[in-house]
């Protein structure tokens, strides 16, 4: 195996070579090798959509789909928040109660102190950040397992919330801007504008990426793939916006053949663009910044990251800070949808958030998973509850099915890990 000057340099690919066909073949090869990502969850979601559409005529209606989105939003935010700590192989059991405590802080400040709602909002976020810093300090600096620290907070904060709200108390959300998140919709035109901006941004970043790769002198994937992706985004987005532009309250009832007068409900729910922007921003940070790369590295092999000069403790702390801050958003979403904040707001949801992340394909061992996985996982869990509810099945069935789906998802993950560990490169 001696090298002489006459031997041509070996060619090392990057997976970007070849036409559309080669790319598709490549993709399926990586899937077979166990890099399934969100594929099982997307498949599951589609199956559930089709299934419930057949089983209930009320399922695939604009009204119910809009409901489904608002039902999902809180869980989705919490699951996305948890991804940051789960990527490190850590857990934040207190994310749910953090969302409850911060929502309580907000509502109490607005009600009892008559504070300006924006100021109250900022204080709620500051409290969330402080909680994350607290957890991060004990996990990353003191060295207590995150399970223990956050379990302690989970218990303690339920008490704190009880003290803030008062036993049996409940505060109505009377800030119209907060209520609007879940209960109001974008004007139809704004829905289309949002879609157009989203497509333009996606296209712009893709083109910028290609130009940058070209400048560096490396191969780009066929541009057709990019157009296919943008096309799918545009068509899917347009279908969605069109569906949400229908008056969802129409046809709900007639009196002597005449439709009952009703308030028009149309447009994309306001929570959708908020959640999408946060999803996009978080994904951008995780995929395209050094910080994101280091987060994955610490989650994959902390010792390797340390030797590479990454400040592992700082990364760990930051993940908890991001998680708790995003949990504040989840708390506000929940308060907006329910309309009240009680002493038990947020205390039940955290494990569903973890379940959503795992169902979506985020590995609890750390290092593997993306925000979109958590979002899809949350959709799967929410669609189960929504569909079974429409079928009139008791809530017990919902829990059983959700639990079953979680174990199924974990099994798929375990088998794919075994496969990817077992097969060497072909």
């Amino acid at each position: 195996m001696s090298t002489t000057a006459s031997t041509p340099p070996p060619v090392i690919g990057s997976g970007h070579e070849g036409g559309v066909r080669d790319q598709i073949v490549n993709y399926f090869r990586t899937v077979r090798q166990g890099e399934m990502g969100a594929l099982p969850a997307i498949g599951g979601f589609v199956v559930l959509l089709v299934l419930f559409s057949f089983l209930s005529s009320n399922f695939f209606t604009p009204l119910n789909l809009a409901n489904l989105l608002t039902q999902t939003a809180t869980l989705m935010m919490l699951a996305m928040a948890l991804v940051f700590v789960i990527l490190l192989g850590e857990i934040d059991l207190s994310a749910g109660v953090t969302s409850g405590v911060t929502a309580s802080v907000f509502v109490v400040l607005v009600h009892n102190v008559q504070m300006n709602w924006i100021l109250a909002l900022l204080i709620a976020f500051a409290v969330g950040l402080a909680i994350g810093t607290f957890i991060g300090f004990f996990v990353a600096r003191v060295g207590i397992p995150s399970f223990v620290v956050t379990l302690g907070l989970f218990l303690g904060f339920q008490g704190l919330q009880l003290l803030i709200i008062g036993t049996g108390g409940a505060y109505r959300i009377e800030t119209p801007e907060i209520s609007a998140i879940m209960n109001k919709n974008l004007p139809i035109l704004w829905g289309w504008i949002f879609l157009a901006v989203a497509i333009a941004v996606d296209l712009g970043i893709s083109l910028w990426d290609r130009a940058r790769r070209k400048r560096a002198g490396v191969i780009n994937r066929p541009i057709t793939l990019m157009w296919i992706r943008v096309g799918v985004l545009a068509v899917g987005g347009a279908l969605f916006v069109a569906l949400m532009s229908v008056d969802r309250a129409a046809g709900r009832g007639t009196l002597n053949g005449v439709p009952i007068a009703h308030d028009v409900i149309e447009g994309v729910p306001i929570v959708v663009p908020i959640a999408l922007v946060l999803l996009w921003a978080g994904t951008f940070i995780l995929d395209r910044t050094r910080y994101g790369r280091h987060l994955y590295a610490v989650g994959g092999n902390g010792e390797a990251a340390r030797r590479a000069g990454i400040k592992v403790a700082a990364i760990r702390m930051s993940a908890f800070m991001v998680c708790s801050t995003l949990a504040v958003v989840a708390g506000l979403f929940d308060a907006s949808r329910i309309g009240v904040v009680t002493a038990s707001s947020g205390s039940q949801i955290v494990l569903s958030g973890v379940a959503a992340a795992v169902v979506g394909g985020v590995s609890l061992f750390g290092g593997r998973g993306r925000l979109i996985h958590a979002a899809i996982g949350a959709l799967v869990i929410a669609v189960i509850a929504n569909g079974l509810g429409l079928l009139g099945l008791p809530a017990g069935v919902n829990f059983l099915v959700t639990g079953g789906v979680l174990i199924l998802a974990a099994t798929v993950d375990a088998i794919s890990r075994k496969r990817s560990g077992g097969t060497l490169v072909r």
Binding site: G13, V218, T289, A297, N301, A304, R307, A308, R368, L424
Partner: protein, 250 residues
């Protein structure tokens, strides 16, 4: 004789009452492979950790290209061009080859990761080492064999024009063919002008690849030999302490 790029003299290190290094001298030359051998507990790892800046020496002198330097942190060592490839490789299995090679020193432009530049530099580095076993630089490390991982770890160390590369037991966990590949890689690395220090228990590998052999025995450098002037039995003798040697490399 070349000028050593790195020269240790009288290096000492103790952990509490245990004196691990008792005045060790070591030299490594550009373009040459220096093997560091010795039995378990001889102080090889401690010596290397000092060079890496992970565990600074208590006393002694480190000269880099003739200048006295102080190695207190991995960053200082890295800034001089001293890179260590540890036995456990320290790669992130969830990241691909490019991401691992650039870990902690990613190229960015406009505040975001410049994947194109990193990809090109990674391929160029692998190609300069005549690596043939890797198909794509975007493969996840989890999908690589032991020899391929060793290759990635070595390529990572030379990515930023390292002057000294220290390899800790690079062939310990490899099969025959992969050992051969890695030793070839080590040779090419040295031929490119890098001073390579290789720690190994396997004297067959050492004789196959090293230009000089330095033997540590209980915290002391008992022999510094040119490979061509010595033989297996002598080196085993120095390692086990049954043979003593006075003098130094010619």
């Amino acid at each position: 004789m070349d000028v050593p790029v790195i020269e240790l003299s009288g290096v000492e290190k103790r952990f509490g009452p245990v004196e691990v290094l008792k005045g060790v001298n070591l030299r490594a030359y550009p373009g040459k492979v220096t093997a560091l051998v010795g039995d378990n507990g001889a102080g090889k790892s401690t010596l290397v950790k000092g060079l890496a800046g992970v565990q600074p020496y208590d006393a002694g002198e480190v000269r880099f290209a003739g200048e006295i330097v102080h190695l207190h942190t991995p960053r200082e060592a890295s800034a001089l061009g001293i890179e260590v490839v540890y036995q456990d490789l320290a790669l992130c299995e969830n990241l691909d080859i490019v991401q691992n090679m650039f870990l902690g020193r990613e190229e960015t432009s406009g505040g975001t990761l410049d994947e194109g530049v990193m990809e090109r530099q990674a391929s160029e580095t692998l190609q300069s080492l005549s690596v043939r076993t890797v198909k794509s630089v975007r493969q996840k490390v989890s999908s690589l064999s032991g020899g391929q991982r060793q290759t990635v770890a070595i390529a990572r160390s030379v990515l930023k024009k390292a002057k000294v590369v220290i390899l800790d037991e690079p062939t310990a966990a490899l099969g025959v063919a992969q050992t051969e590949q890695v030793l070839n890689l080590v040779r090419r690395l040295a031929d490119s002008g890098v001073a390579v220090i290789i720690i190994s228990h396997n004297l067959v590998d050492v004789f196959a690849v090293a230009d000089y052999i330095s033997v540590l025995y209980l915290g002391q450098m008992v022999a510094e030999l040119a490979t061509k002037d010595t033989n297996n039995d002598d080196v085993v003798g120095y390692i086990t302490g049954s043979k003593t040697y006075e003098g130094s490399v010619a």
